[in-house]
Structure formats: structure tokens, C-alpha cells
Subunit: 168 residues, 4 copies
Amino acid sequence: MKIKIFVTGGTFDKEYDEIKGILFFKKTHLSEMLKLGHCKLKFDVTTLMMKDSLHMTDEDRNLILENCEKIDEDKIVITHGTDTMAETAKVLGRSIKDKTVVLTGAMIPYKFGSSDGLFNLGSSLAFVQVLPPGVYVSMNGRYFNWDNVRKNKETGKFEELNEISSQP
Amino acid sequence: MKIKIFVTGGTFDKEYDEIKGILFFKKTHLSEMLKLGHCKLKFDVTTLMMKDSLHMTDEDRNLILENCEKIDEDKIVITHGTDTMAETAKVLGRSIKDKTVVLTGAMIPYKFGSSDGLFNLGSSLAFVQVLPPGVYVSMNGRYFNWDNVRKNKETGKFEELNEISSQP
Amino acid sequence: MKIKIFVTGGTFDKEYDEIKGILFFKKTHLSEMLKLGHCKLKFDVTTLMMKDSLHMTDEDRNLILENCEKIDEDKIVITHGTDTMAETAKVLGRSIKDKTVVLTGAMIPYKFGSSDGLFNLGSSLAFVQVLPPGVYVSMNGRYFNWDNVRKNKETGKFEELNEISSQP
Amino acid sequence: MKIKIFVTGGTFDKEYDEIKGILFFKKTHLSEMLKLGHCKLKFDVTTLMMKDSLHMTDEDRNLILENCEKIDEDKIVITHGTDTMAETAKVLGRSIKDKTVVLTGAMIPYKFGSSDGLFNLGSSLAFVQVLPPGVYVSMNGRYFNWDNVRKNKETGKFEELNEISSQP
């Protein structure tokens, strides 16, 4: 069993440009993170794009969908910005029925030391191995079905559509 | 659904004593790690002991077993030293049939910055939610049944009993 | 001998707002950094402002000058954004002749884990103890007189006015 | 002006062996730390030995002394274990009169993330540039003359011989 990991950008992979004083994308830290986690799963990482998910277009989402469909692997983890992760999950969920796809991301860049990224990567790689075919979002230690998830913009936490928000 | 987390010590929670220059246990970092992971699962942490797993006795293992059995929760994560994790898994696995129990640990202390602990914690909390009742070890991004796992002392990696070791 | 530390903001103290995805100021990390450095000097920290130095005005610089002049201590370290640190040094250097004042900062926020801030703080506290009265900038392990320093915008390094830039 | 840096080991450079669960020396992290500090001084790093200072012998101290004497540079920083740093300072201080030598170290290994090492390195590189010829210890943000310094074994802090210890 090999797991395919698609990188699309998001806070996960943002870095700090010390000359300009801004956040930017250079390259993905997925391999570094998997090494840090002592991960011994068979996996394969491909970068599809490096985008803030606020800038993701319909074309971008179709590209992700096409790539999920055309590969042989039926277990796929996608790293993605959190702001429109639920939206991309919907595009994938409507079409993909015979593979397990887990989208995950981070609220704080991995390079900033105190990131939730490594925790989320561990969770999503576990979920993708065990959950039945379908499209899921994995954040905050939980998993959500593609058609029942949103990011709460105020708390930054993911929740089910009918969930009553508790404290941030 | 609430997840019970039992802390038993292990490299996970070791710290550096700067006066004596040795590693020691002070208190668990589980709550700090779950906060770092932005974890929003319902969970409850109880420290059963703080031991290097090389010093764990039969009595210690029975204490862990009793605690797993007597609580109401049927999803349990146990943090444990890696050296005898497989041994404790056997003690639990022979007796516990109706709960999902996942043992996990770390090769590098969480406080040392470059630990695999956060990754393993993410994995084990995901596995415990989705795997059927039984006792498992979760390390290196993988999960193992209690009766088919060992730590490879040379590579430091966990593997199935009949697994041919690959590179460290 | 007590050292006065004035905080004025700068990259040093910037943090990441995980909800908005931007850098911002909350509070200074000076005390935390001095504790991390096991600093046993007698010191006293006062926050004068929390500003990106690109937004610093003549009034801000006068406020810093007044505060340096009115206090009893004659050894002063000022944390400051790097972009206009040389400019503030000039304002202070023209007026202050009987105290040792060292301005320092960081290229990467302290909270991002891989910051030069702790190194610079160590340097500037050493320089302020030993250098004769005058106003100095302490960056990149070096010290510069207030009337002979600039930040090289391309390399991000500080240099003397007549210095030939080497590699970044 | 070029600064010579001699590495002799100490907590500074200790690492964690994840297979054996012990602290050990691999190679020095000095260059990595100087890069992190954005240091632009002219310097040159030579490893003389990699020893816990509790294991340092008279021969080791003589080797350090000889190396300080035979090089051209008259500004020297020595990284050293803290337990016998004051002892080595005495050996050097009795003989070296025309160079500025600063010994420094760390209470917590650099690789553990929350080390005082970077702060101490910044301090010692500043002191070595400005202090008059002589041998000094630089720890806790302070500098001490070679003949008036000891490590307080209880607090882990350095102090003058007649200093009344305050809180740890």
C-alpha cells in the first residue's frame, strides 16, 4: 500500500522572507516533516501548486481532481490552505467515490516552530489508511465528511455544519 | 465520544535537567501538545506513572490494564516508552476485546524541539477513533496489532514480526 | 550597575495571527528571551511603543530620546525595527554624549524559532557594558558608531557607510 | 580583525542519541549557530576536542593553552563545558597576557531548542571585540575575570568568588 501526497500550498508551507518582511512560498516541507515524524509508510509526494487557498480558482480545483483520478493509488492525502479547504473537499467529494482522500492543512506555518502541521499530518496519514472510500477533511484531531464541514472563521476551528460553536 | 489518554512516561515526556546534565521526568506535556495541535476532540488525560519503559514491571502493566478496564470510555490512547511498548501491548491485548486501545510514544523528547511525538500523537488519536476494538501500537505513521509488532533495536523503528528490515 | 532596556517594537517582537494570517504585535518577548539566555544582569524593561520601524515618526524618535535622557541609568539597550534603526541612532547620537546606548533588533521574529534575536540580544547586552559612552548599533555580531552605519537593503546586513558589500 | 573560535565540547554541542537514549557528541554546531545569528564577523572555527568538561585533563588544558598561544589571532572565543570552565580559565589566565580570550558555554544543548547557547555566543563574541587583553568567562550575560569566577553548583549560575548568591 502506497499513499500519495499532493501538496497545494497553504499556511503549512509558508515561510518568512526576512528581507521583505512578508510570508511567501519557497518549497514544500512535507519530506522534512515526514522525516521528523520518523514516518515509515510508503508514500510519494507531488507538488501540484503552491497557493494560498484564498487564491485558488475553479481551474486549480479541477487540476487537483484530475490528479486524484488519474493516479493508481487509492489513498491520497492533500495539503491545502484552510480558508477554502471545505470548498475543494466538495469538488472532490462529488466525483470521487472509490478512493480515500483526506485534506489537511495548518493554522501556523511549519517553519514557525509552534505549528499544528505535524500533528495534522500524523492524523491525516492515519485516517487515510483506515477510513472507507470517500473524501474527508482532517483538522483539529477530527475528521469530517466532505459534505458536512466548514471552517469557523472566528475561532479558526473546523466544525460540522450544524455544530454549535463552543469556545475558540 | 470522549477519548481517554493515559500517560505512563517514556521518552515523550523526558526533560533535560540543566543542573545535573541528565534526562528526567517532571510532568507530562500532553496537554501542551494537544493545544499545539489545535486538538478539539473531547479528551481526558490521566497520568498513571512516569517511567522509562525499561523500568516497567508486571505490576505496572497490570495497573495499566486495570485502568483501561475500569473506565467508561472505550477509546483509549496510552503514551508509553518505546523499549517495552510491544510487551505492554501484549498484556493489554490478551485481555481487552471490547475497547480500542492505541499505544504510542516518541523516539525524541517533545521538549527537544525536533521530536516525532506530535506526529505520533496525531496518528494515534486518529487511529483510536476509526480502528475496530482491539489493542494496537501506533508508531512511524503505521499501526500494528498487539500480537504482531516489535521494536527493531538497531533501527529504532517498529515492524511486524515477519517484516524484513529495510534501511534505518 | 543596572541596564535599562527600552522596547520599541520591530521584527523582534512580531507574532503570527493564525486567524488573519498576518504578522502583528501583541507584547514584547524580552523577558522570556532574557530568561532563556539565563541572563543574571540587573536590568529593567520598559515598552515605549510597539511599532514596525517603517512607521516610526519624528515624534516617536523624540520620545525615545527623551526617555534615554530622563532616566538615571547610563547603560541603555533599545530594541528597534531594522529598517530605520540607523535613522533613530542618528537622532540619539547627536544628543547623547554621556551614556552608552546600543540599538539592536532582529531580521526574523523571535517567535519563529529560527531567529537571530537571541544572538543580537546577547551581543548588545555585552557591548553596552563595555563600550565607552556613545550611541551604537549592534547587529550581525558587530557594533557600529551611530554616524557610520546603514542597513544594506539588498543583503539585509548592516555595514559601515564606506564598506564594500560582500556576499549576502 | 579576525576572531578565532576554539571548540572543546561541553553541553553546547551535546546531542540526543535516539537509539541509545543518551546524550553524546557528534560534531559542533558553531557554524550553524553563527549563521542563525546572521553573524558577519570574520571568524575561523577549529575543534580542538569534544569533551564533557568533567572529563577534561591537565593535558587537555595545556593543549588549549598551546593553541591559543601559537595562533596569530589575538581575539579568541573558546566554547567549553561549564563544570570546569573556571578551572581552564585559570590555566589560560596565568599565561596569556597579550590576547583577549573569552570562554563561554551553555547550560542546555543548542539542539534542544530552548538553549542559552545562542545568547552566550552573542555575548562572548561582543566581549572579545571590546575587552582589553586578558582571560574572561562570559556566562549569564556577564563577564568575569579568570581569577574571580566560579560556577555555583546549586544554581547553575556563574558568580564572582565573593558574591552572595541570590535566587537561582
